[in-house]
Symmetry: C2
Subunit: 217 residues, 2 copies
């Protein structure tokens, strides 16, 4: 298809498509003349991914560039280990930015959140890399909870962990096998279902608070 | 206590405390002389709340100001209805900013996410106000999921809704009765446990992906 049709199909304007090609987010079309090129379904798919990360997840063009380069990098050899590393690297490019492992995170309360999350991870038996970004994310989140004086008891945190583990198991069961598709599914699934979960939790709070206050049967 | 002790106890520097007083986030101390004032445990608690919202949830001083004004507003009369309204107003001040109901959200795909979320809410029996911000948040989040071509089937979405409802029910069961404390618990609990849940989901993904790829027993 010509670029005008690609724009119509994808909902991305022609100048934006050209910008993405210049920035290396989208492969150029196949030249068919001095000023013409043709595009195919791969371009439509890629624009869908870029749009989801830009508009759906609110990422910068630079951040989307990092992610698509990881998805496009040839994985040789394709082994479970190289796949897990590529998944980790792609997901680490998503917000929140938690810095690199061992960085000087000079928070005075460093210890509290970290000890609570280490105990939680051990109790529920999560097998993850020690330096994984999600681990630093959890440390930081639990530090904020502890600092605010909110409960961090095992009953509450284990309940959160069990609920997330059940959801994650079902999500991973639907993960595609082909490396590029697997990476795209992991990145998009992480970025785009997170707001769904949070919105549902807030709606459920309203539902249960209304009942607790006697406003609903 | 004197302001220097309040700073030590709360971990908030004296100039920042003075700034919060000027901005109306914190009540002034009780004057004991021309240049002296004393502070009590309420100030410590309030600084803890402000710090959690500023550093833990990353909110602006203006946003924190909106929230504390709602928490401080006398609720008269205290009825389930006025409490639910105050809870809704306080929570609406938290990100993400989803605009006001009926605003011109000129997204071409407006219909898709909205229909999916309306069906989901009806299926799982969530009783919420039609114009509640979390509802617009869900519409927007599901629109992004649908646009990206990710699954929005009932099985997956109902699983998310059920998990969030179970967690929310347990959280609401621990909600304090006193209006000011109830509002603080709702705002902090919403803002600070969200990052915990997301970090746990990402860790669980890594755990289950390792197993799916045969990297763990």
């Amino acid at each position: 298809m010509r670029i005008s049709e690609l724009a119509r199909t994808s909902g991305v304007p022609v100048p934006t498509i050209k910008y993405y090609v210049r920035e290396g987010l989208l492969a150029p079309g196949v030249k068919t003349g001095a000023t013409q090129a043709v595009y195919d379904d791969h371009h439509v798919q890629r624009l869908r991914l870029i749009r989801a990360l830009r508009e759906g997840a609110g990422l910068s063009v630079e951040r989307v560039g990092e992610i698509v380069r990881i998805i496009d990098a040839p994985l040789e050899p394709v082994t479970p280990t190289t796949l897990i590393v590529a998944l980790g690297t792609a997901l680490a490019a998503l917000p929140p930015d938690v810095g690199v492992d061992g960085s000087a995170d000079s928070d005075a309360n460093d210890g509290a959140g970290d000890a609570i999350s280490a105990q939680l991870i051990a109790r529920v038996g999560l097998e993850v890399e020690r330096g994984t970004p999600a681990r630093r994310q959890l440390d930081r989140a639990l530090r904020a909870v502890a600092d605010a004086g909110l409960p961090t008891d095992a009953q509450r945190l284990d309940r959160y962990a069990a609920a997330m583990s059940d959801l994650a198991a079902a999500e991973i069961a639907e993960m595609p096998d082909e490396p590029g598709e697997m990476l795209a599914y992991a990145v998009l699934g992480t970025a785009l279902y997170e707001p769904v979960l949070l919105a549902l939790r807030r709606l459920a709070h309203e539902h249960h608070a209304r009942r607790a206050l006697g406003l609903a049967p």
